[in-house]
Symmetry: C2
Amino acid sequence: MRAVVMRNHKLSVDDLPIPQSGPGEVIVKTLACGICGSDLHALKYTEKLVEASHRSGGAFTMDLTRGIVMGHEFCAEVVEHGPATKKTVKAGTRVCSMPVIISPTGVQTVGYSNENPGGYGEFMRLTEGLLLEVPNGLSTERAALTEPMAVGLHAVQMARLDKDDAPLVIGCGPVGLSVIAALRMKGVRPIVAADFSPRRRQLAEAMGADIVVDPKEKSPYSSWREVAVWPDPSRAPQQPPWVTGPAVRPAVIFECVGVPGVIDHIMTAAPQAARIVVVGVCMEKDAIEPMIGINKELNLQFVLGYNREEFAQTLRNIAEGVIPTDPLITGKVGIEGVAQAFEDLASPEHHAKILVEPWRS
Amino acid sequence: MRAVVMRNHKLSVDDLPIPQSGPGEVIVKTLACGICGSDLHALKYTEKLVEASHRSGGAFTMDLTRGIVMGHEFCAEVVEHGPATKKTVKAGTRVCSMPVIISPTGVQTVGYSNENPGGYGEFMRLTEGLLLEVPNGLSTERAALTEPMAVGLHAVQMARLDKDDAPLVIGCGPVGLSVIAALRMKGVRPIVAADFSPRRRQLAEAMGADIVVDPKEKSPYSSWREVAVWPDPSRAPQQPPWVTGPAVRPAVIFECVGVPGVIDHIMTAAPQAARIVVVGVCMEKDAIEPMIGINKELNLQFVLGYNREEFAQTLRNIAEGVIPTDPLITGKVGIEGVAQAFEDLASPEHHAKILVEPWRS
């Protein structure tokens, strides 16, 4: 099969054997697969990703001397059932799945593995028990957004939001947009979102942000403070006596940038007792000032991925139109176009999500 | 009055005017005042403390060119009532108070301020409304432990502990010992505590730690894991499929060291989904690896001080013997001995808490 293979920090198009299904597995034909910021990270920092994953008990155990087919945001079509399958999902059915394979020997990722090619190739093998049917009437390209949108839902769930909380989203790339959609769905508003890119601010509005801020023009924290003042100050919880200014609702700040320095910047700018949810993946060492965290009693919640229920709920949400997805898809490429798409995605001015359609000529 | 004055990173004994009481304030005679690790920090990093406090909306607004009388862990005796006081607490009564003064112009700290000398001097001015009477039968020196013991109670409250949580205390200086006492009082056990110093490990046991670990001999995280395994695995919440080994109870790790590198070390060694409560005050920039936090979905809760209820509850707890205090007081000095006591406290082998008794000759 034709696939985009990552080797030595480079992408190239190769011919590979079609994967073989093990017990309980199916072979699927990839219909569409989104390119994720993590894939851009992985191409640049492959060794670092594997090393950090290894040290923290993670699942990324790639052998970097062999090729890897990335792609973990997919919608696919069942083509063949392997041994010991229940055949509950018929051949020809469109499906989504969390990008993992569960086998007797453990769990492996799809798309960050030597054995399990991801969606930048024509075929994949998947675990039958994890397949979710794409509802009739839902387009393949929207279904392919399940994975990235589940990331936002999980981040928002982990934030343990209360109706009085006032959210602020820093960074409106695909992760930030996904968080905005989940916040809007939960009805925790107003949603303030900040990004330097005009295009991304436009997307943030389309996804449901109430106020978008260009940090070059105005501090996102000032904009947040203006709308986070308690309408009824008698409902405000007591603040430490040295905190001045009008009482503001509890701040929940989503870090959706993932480059060094952003966590420190947020900690310094955050109001008293803010909760900071770190969704952006920073691959490098980063510096913080614990003293700032202590003085404000900040909380940092790091989050990763989603669970099975959140993934399934996201597919339902997309099918029911509860979360917007139309603004997100800004480009489509075939296999030959993937390397160029990676380069295009490095600049925020043109794209949110580019879908790979391996069968596109 | 005689007092220990901090100026230009040095301590010296000076004669100062007795403070004047403003409206709603009383003058008290200092009976005993503990030396806090924060005072050692403040002596070394005064500018940094003021600057970080300023940037994070804190209350430390010292003018460093003028002298400062530190000391915020005190028990005192009321000697004179200022104007507009209610005189609910009679002269001669022994009292404790949170080390702050609440005035019409705002809140000021006692002991980190040019205007409000702390307990390393013979007299202080305090806000009448904040005074707590020391119960009959409770010794002055135990009452002086209210402030440092309230720090541990607050940290444990902020940890939002559940009965299934398994705590680990990293560092058994006064802050760690205070956390251990609060954990023991809450009945969240077994309590695993680690420190390189044999003396501090001994104190940790005396304060209620169930298992003490010398990190030179064995990893505190291995010791923790051994006792944190679920006795009944069927009660364990589901772990991510890639996490191997027997299911362990949720980890709550208290960072009570406060030097650069410790947070990163804890993040790297912590189990999946651990909550890390940062109680130790690190005054310098510090490096972390966000990727490790993300892979494990760690939570970092920074904490500071205590609130009014926690402070009052701690005094009651000490009076009722609910938390042990006897092991803590390892030395007493007069005003002339404070500078030497600061040096002695830099080494963990000899002391937990040294009390300053300004009237001691």
